[in-house]
Symmetry: C2
Subunit: 420 residues, 2 copies
């Protein structure tokens, strides 16, 4: 008999408790043990919940209960959750969490505290997809060359809808909010921050890189328009919000942004709210993992997988995949040094000489143009849609600032990176 | 220090030895141990091999070496390999194998012998994709509703080429043989037997079903023509060789055959030599795993992942995922009782009354037609391309026999099952 305490009984917590009961037959046969939720901790006992477990508002009733073997942290937030899981570990309890923000900030301290006890977090990245398991156990023979993932279902849903229905960003966002795919304040999702938290967790397992959200390039999908989608279609791309980790020699670049990606790539074929993560290993080549990135039951599936693992064998691997740091440790590449191909959308007054001035500017920054489309917009202006050959991020940023300052340019130019 | 003996040093064995050396930095940092190949067993010492390990022709030099912790079985075949791994287990050695045929026939006996010692086999299904890991550990909270997989790269390569180049089966097979994607005798691949071995392994982990290849429906891709591919295109399907496991109530159907599948499904989007396996769990929904299903380095990646797992924690889960059988065990469904939609290609003399006679026959067997295309072929004959609504396998088989016996039918009709 394995006893579990759940801290935070919201959608995912309810699913964990209910699935452990509903699928008890198959779970106990696989785990070789009965798994029972002894208690759940909530902020208020007044709220009606869809579970039949004992509830308390006192977190210590779980943390200090000697019968409880595994603490499942589903309270969210960073610092309070950090205190709670530290105390659980100190009291000799294994921990399972779905809390990506906690891990984005404290995973290395936690790995230190969880050297001899299980601390698992499969649900923190891409919900029901067992990507932590795949990366940490399944691909351990490989130097990881790159990770490229659709790690945020809200963004992928919105971009798919914009492509298929031709509607504007604001309209689709409103629809996503009504369907519950986007929050009232959508910034965390559409701004790329959610994906960044997940990327940082994967980067630790792949590369042993200790970085925080503020250390890496994070951009969202707020600037994408139908104009960009039309350009993508014309040149055989899809637009996706991607989390990207890429190793070159001893440096790793980490970035989250909207990206143009060739539609033949498997990752480009993933539509709607689904998540998918492509991992390239030096020996295995590309493998890809696809599935639901959110939802109570899908997330609970990953939480319970961790509980079963712990019931089966306690701690079976180092928390972040490395038993000790590699010699010749990898370091984080400066965002300014990243090389990419770029797509730019520049709205200009449609006058003679404008194109010549612009192209001269590109030449000045040694940025070579691959394709250009000019499309008229209203009020005697035009959109220039330009894709470049490989260029350096800092050069493009300087070019963008320069372009924004030109008197014949009507608004801040928009840039989307091209990843394949 | 973990010492490994490799039995069978062919392409995969060479890759295992070489990757353990080449990626030693990252592998040892992850495993928390140095992993060294102490000896390899080969049939002949004369053959030149691309490895720098000690070789012997005497298998007992590995099986009886007390320093060796893990035996990697890569010799292939069934009975001889079975004797070898039994002896390894008896001598207290953990075993890692890539041998799907061995497991297709002996996995339950082996699980019994490996109750207290690790026996791992990630490489036996879908090469470098960590699907065993995903199914056994990552999805353990779920009742598995279905598994549907492209598990044979040779077939997928050939079907993709037939679609894209419009060439005939025989021509593409020859090309695949020249490229090394198909064997001189291709039956094991194109006949579906390779996929069936893999399906049986997955079915044990998902359902605890003990079945052997001869118990299940196995068909290949030998009868697919450009006519079928044209029909598929017209109605929005792809043609894939699929391994399918599906639960309905207390029964599980297992089958391998060419199938028409809607092109919007993720599994239908997998082209070329790649493998992909879609798993639907009752809680997580659909997850999909994609990657290279063969090749020395990709397969070795999976073999080494198992070695690292064992170095990290010994035995971390029951071999086939179940610690004890579930109550109300699932049973294998008779092939004759499977329900599916079907596509039929019937070559008939193009005479009046033929269609009426045929459709009457469909009615007689209560098989309802969904779509029909008639296409003229040479010599005053025509191909009828017919898709049906849901029907029972035994009814379709009877109908097919009856159709084959009609005097206006020119050759044995061809049937492809429609899975979505």
């Amino acid at each position: 008999m394995v006893k579990v305490g759940i801290i935070g009984v919201g959608t995912v917590g309810e699913s964990v408790a209910n699935i452990l009961k509903e699928n008890q037959d198959v779970i106990s046969a696989r785990a070789g043990a009965m798994i029972e939720v002894k208690k759940g901790v909530v902020r208020s006992l007044d709220k009606k919940r869809n579970v039949e477990i004992a509830l308390t508002t006192d977190v210590n009733e779980v943390l200090e209960d000697e019968e409880i073997d595994i603490v499942v942290e589903l309270m969210g937030g960073v610092e309070e959750a950090y205190e709670v899981v530290k105390k659980a570990l100190k009291n000799g309890k294994a921990v399972v969490t779905a809390n990506k923000a906690l891990l984005a900030y404290h995973r290395y301290e936690l790995a230190e505290l969880a050297k001899d006890i299980a601390f698992e977090y499969e649900a923190s990245v891409a919900g029901g997809i067992p990507i932590i398991n795949a990366l940490r156990e399944g691909l351990s023979a490989n130097h990881i060359e790159s990770i490229m993932g659709i790690m945020n279902g809200t963004c992928n849903y919105m971009l798919t809808k914009m492509r298929d229905e031709g509607a504007a960003y604001d309209e689709i966002l409103k629809e996503a909010q009504e369907l519950g795919y986007a929050e009232a304040d959508p910034t965390f999702d559409v701004g790329g921050f959610d994906a960044a938290h997940k990327l940082l967790i994967l980067a630790s397992i792949a590369y042993g890189i200790d970085a925080k959200p503020e250390d890496i390039l994070i951009e969202g999908i707020e600037n994408i328009t139908q104009e960009d989608i039309a350009f993508a279609k014309e040149f055989g791309y899809e637009i996706k919000l991607l989390g990207i980790a890429k190793k070159e020699r001893s440096e790793v670049e980490l970035r989250v942004h909207a990206a143009l990606i060739k539609k033949e790539e498997m990752i480009a074929k993933i539509d709607g709210v689904m998540n998918g993560i492509s991992v390239v290993g030096d020996k295995v080549g590309e493998t890809l993992y696809y599935g639901p990135g959110a939802g109570g039951d899908a997330t609970a599936s990953a939480v319970i997988a961790n509980i079963v693992d712990i019931a089966r064998s306690g701690k079976s691997a180092p928390m972040l995949g490395f038993d000790r740091p590699m010699e010749g440790k990898l370091t984080l590449k400066e965002s300014a040094d990243v090389h990419s191909k770029y797509y730019l959308r520049i709205n200009v007054n449609d006058k003679t000489g404008v194109l010549a001035k612009l192209t001269k500017l590109f030449e000045h920054y040694s940025i070579s143009i691959e394709t250009m489309l000019q499309r008229p917009t209203q009020n005697e202006s035009a959109n220039l849609l330009i894709s470049t050959h490989l260029a350096k991020e800092s050069d493009i940023q300087e070019l963008m600032d320069k372009i924004a300052s030109l008197e014949f340019v009507n608004s801040k130019p928009v840039m989307i990176r091209i990843v394949s």
